[in-house]
Symmetry: C2
Subunit: 213 residues, 2 copies
Amino acid sequence: MAIRGYGQYCGLSRALEVLGERWGLLIVRDLFSGPHRFGELEHSLAPIPTSVLATRLKDLEKAGIVERIPVTIPRRGTAYTLTEDGMALEPTLVALGRWGAERMGDPRPGESVTPESLAMALRTTYTKPGAMEGAIELHLADIVLGIRIDGDGLHLAPGPLTDPPTVLRVTPDIKRLIVGELTQDESRAQGIVDVEGDPVGLDLFAAAFTLGA
Amino acid sequence: MAIRGYGQYCGLSRALEVLGERWGLLIVRDLFSGPHRFGELEHSLAPIPTSVLATRLKDLEKAGIVERIPVTIPRRGTAYTLTEDGMALEPTLVALGRWGAERMGDPRPGESVTPESLAMALRTTYTKPGAMEGAIELHLADIVLGIRIDGDGLHLAPGPLTDPPTVLRVTPDIKRLIVGELTQDESRAQGIVDVEGDPVGLDLFAAAFTLGA
DNA sequence: CTGCATCCACTTTGATACTG
DNA sequence: CAGTATCAAAGTGGATGCAG
């Protein structure tokens, strides 16, 4: 199981040796939302074959990108988490994800949206919304994501917020608002976004997440 | 030859569908220095199998990243060049290359440095050197690269400059200067860099190209 | 049940040879 | 020069097995 290199002494080649294998960067993406167990990764990356997931995790661990840590809840076991080197991939993933998001068309049949892919979509489309700050709880189907925007930037966490000022319920077509294809009003009229609580939350959302404009 | 997707409606997944195959991003990297013919790519990406290069180029063309253009020098034929979508990958490649460069150790036996990988290394380590501006002709073995730094940023071109104020002749160990492991004087003493012409060129180089500091 | 390992059909890659 | 053809080796996808 030797490294399949590219024969060049080059940072990009070296990065691709460890990250260029299939599913590798998606595993890293999913671990950005915190430690995950094997089974959670298997679920959020479906349809990944378990054999590939197992070998990839071993490769990433050997490369110092992923670490195994013991966890006790909901029961004893191991989870996988990013090392500092793994965390350092964030700007790269955002750059690549943004490039892809600007060019992706509509969902293909059978494609799904996961909490992690939604979080990545928000990270890639985030641009500091002037002086606006606030919190939003975002619902997409059964996915719930807590969004907080403050002076430090964007903070994402899976799961609900405590006492959120605004709750947004959206469909995957929310992308049409983000890319500027629809206005806020049009999006609401078409049922793409439903606002509960303080309506300024939608203004914040629309200001913070934009693409290609 | 259908697309091997990841089953997720996600910008990162979509980007990886087209760019995640082996050699793909290295082809894009090489095309950043301008149009190249099949044979030039084969040479600069050695040891890439020609069959893989051919299919990759077709895939990248179908994905709208690469374009075939007719060329007449040195003889009639076809060359490959980046489309606007391909050019838009620069921040991504720089981010990934920088991550890799910060973590790559020493050259492995048999690894080479090509003009394109050297150019990528300079792009990934470039940081605006304050108000300094100037031009440098960089030699590494038989590679010659023209470097110009002005108010617009960094400009790289393969081949010599006309009347360069400074010529630097370096070895791959120049990386030790870039990462701050050696000072300018130590680098010169160890024969890692040889300065010809205005010595301020080395100051400019050391200020403009740094990593991990 | 979770966390993988094993097996097998299939696809991709690598190396070399070959053609217009 | 610019690829295609061929074939072995390695990687992937999908199903199943099995230990803790």
